[in-house]
């Protein structure tokens, strides 16, 4: 039976849930992983684009405009997942009073907003040739727009408060409130849409060729990898910025400064 003394006599082997809650430990772990995520992102991205742009057949109904989904769908999924992740890490931060969790939450925000914008932009460019309009007020697009507003609200609140620790906490609280509201907002928008019969879009559920599906899946993983690489980088830079008074950061900064 493992007693407390056993654990203490093997310090390097004992890892527990909170080992990486220490910014220093997380920093070096993330630093090692970032190049790996970049490799994945670029590799998968190239593979997905080659498959999707060069080998997937032209769609019978939509022609070649459907190829936008190789960006639109991954971006839309990321935008939603990242908002939940942002709220999740904010909640962890509040429950455990862990500043690293707040930092992760804050680092996700910009990337999430970017994904949302990309989803909306590509959605519009897909909609114009397919349904004839740059914008349609359907439930999904409108909800995506509201999601962008939620991200912008988060970023505005964070930048408005000078004390960055308070800013992180306040923005995280906002994200948690937002994530709880998102289902409510989505259902009310859906309701609104069905009752205000605007331009009715029939999302033609054409059977997707397997190469299209595969390319989309590969691109989704590519987006995931890009997000991990970017968010980890941002967390690390924020750690360097906000913990610059500590010894380990001083050492790290001077080694970074020496290199470039």
């Amino acid at each position: 039976m493992q007693t407390k003394t056993d654990m203490n006599s093997q310090p390097s082997k004992s890892m527990h849930w909170f080992t990486f809650a220490a910014p220093s430990k997380f920093y070096f772990l993330a630093k090692k992983l970032i190049p790996f995520f970049w490799l994945l992102a670029i590799g998968l991205g190239i593979a997905g684009l080659i498959l999707g742009l060069l080998f997937a057949p032209t769609d019978a109904v939509q022609g070649d405009s459907y190829r936008i989904i190789f960006i639109h769908v991954p971006a839309a999924w990321m935008s939603m997942v990242l908002y939940v992740a942002m709220a999740f890490w904010g909640a962890i931060g509040m429950i455990f009073n862990a500043r690293l969790a707040y930092r992760i939450s804050n680092s996700i925000a910009i990337t999430g907003a970017l994904m949302t914008f990309i989803a909306l932009w590509t959605g519009a460019l897909w909609g114009k040739p397919t349904w004839g309009a740059w914008w349609v007020w359907d439930a999904r697009l409108t909800s995506e727009l509201i999601l962008l507003f939620l991200y912008i609200g988060y970023l505005s609140l964070y930048s408005a408060i000078d004390d960055k620790r308070k800013a992180a906490k306040a923005a995280s609280l906002l994200a948690i409130i937002g994530v709880v509201n998102v289902p409510i907002i989505y259902f009310s928008v859906k309701w609104w849409n069905t009752l205000h019969q605007g331009a009715s879009i029939t999302v033609t559920k054409t059977s997707m060729d397997s190469s299209m599906l595969l390319a989309m899946l590969i691109m989704t993983f590519a987006f995931w990898s890009y997000t991990f690489a970017t968010v980890f980088t941002r967390v690390n830079y924020k750690t360097l910025d906000e913990e610059s008074h500590t010894d380990w950061v001083q050492k790290e900064l001077s080694s970074m400064g020496v290199l470039k």
Partner: protein, 227 residues
């Protein structure tokens, strides 16, 4: 010495907020006049065609009400923060959540309630039929407290920040979209003789939920800022 009960504290806070709102009457009326003005801008912008105005009236009145309430929120906690009263309240025997609740009820009394009472007059400007005006009134009655409750979260998050009015709107308006949609759908349904009570029930549900959770969230936000 009479023991100070929680109810006494809450009543005192409620009365104090109302009194302060009356004293700075110009600020309070500002939001009201803003409401009236904005509602009147739309016919000027869109033309006075009766049919069009009847159609858009519920939406305009609701949106203007939202904007007016957003405007009035920045003072909810800021004045007390400046005076140092907020810190004292946070230390009080009475939970900060309940203090927030009392303040929000007071806020509704000097904003949402007044907008609500004016709305039938404005609805007449748009030639809304009497039944629609009735339903609009009830919808606003059920929905405006939610505006104050959820709005208070925005006010709490931005305490101490300068020019927080626009920021509060940015944070809170997306969260109020369900209220907006339900409130306008109710009136639209009434206008076309369709069943509208489901929207009113949902407004009540959303209101009750927000009255419970918003004070908790606002109190959390206040503690973050005051720390």
């Amino acid at each position: 010495m009479t023991p100070i009960s929680t109810t006494n504290i809450l009543l005192t806070i409620f009365k104090r907020d109302i009194t302060l709102a009356i004293r700075r009457g110009s600020d309070t009326c500002g939001a009201i006049f803003f409401f009236i003005l904005v509602v009147s801008l739309f016919p000027l912008a869109l033309g006075s065609d009766t049919k069009l105005l009847q159609q858009i009236a519920p939406g305009i009145i609701w949106v203007s009400a939202l904007l007016a309430v957003m405007l009035s929120l920045s003072r909810l906690f800021n004045d007390d923060f400046q005076d140092g009263v907020l810190e004292q309240l946070a230390l009080s025997v009475c939970p900060l959540e309940m203090i927030t609740f009392a303040k929000v009820i007071a806020h509704w009394c000097y904003t949402g309630l007044i907008l609500l009472l004016i709305s039938p007059i404005l609805a007449l400007q748009f030639n809304l039929p009497p039944h629609s005006i009735q339903v609009l009134f009830i919808a606003l009655l059920l929905g405006t407290p939610t505006l104050s409750f959820i709005g208070s979260i925005g006010a709490a998050l931005t305490v101490g920040l300068k020019s927080s009015g626009a920021l509060i709107s940015l944070l809170i308006l997306p969260l109020l979209i369900p209220v907006l949609i339900l409130g306008t759908l109710a009136v639209d349904a009434a206008a076309t003789d369709m069943p509208y009570s489901v929207y009113l029930y949902l407004l009540v549900a959303y209101g009750v939920l927000s009255s419970f959770f918003a004070p908790i969230a606002s109190a959390s936000a206040l503690r973050i800022v005051l720390d």
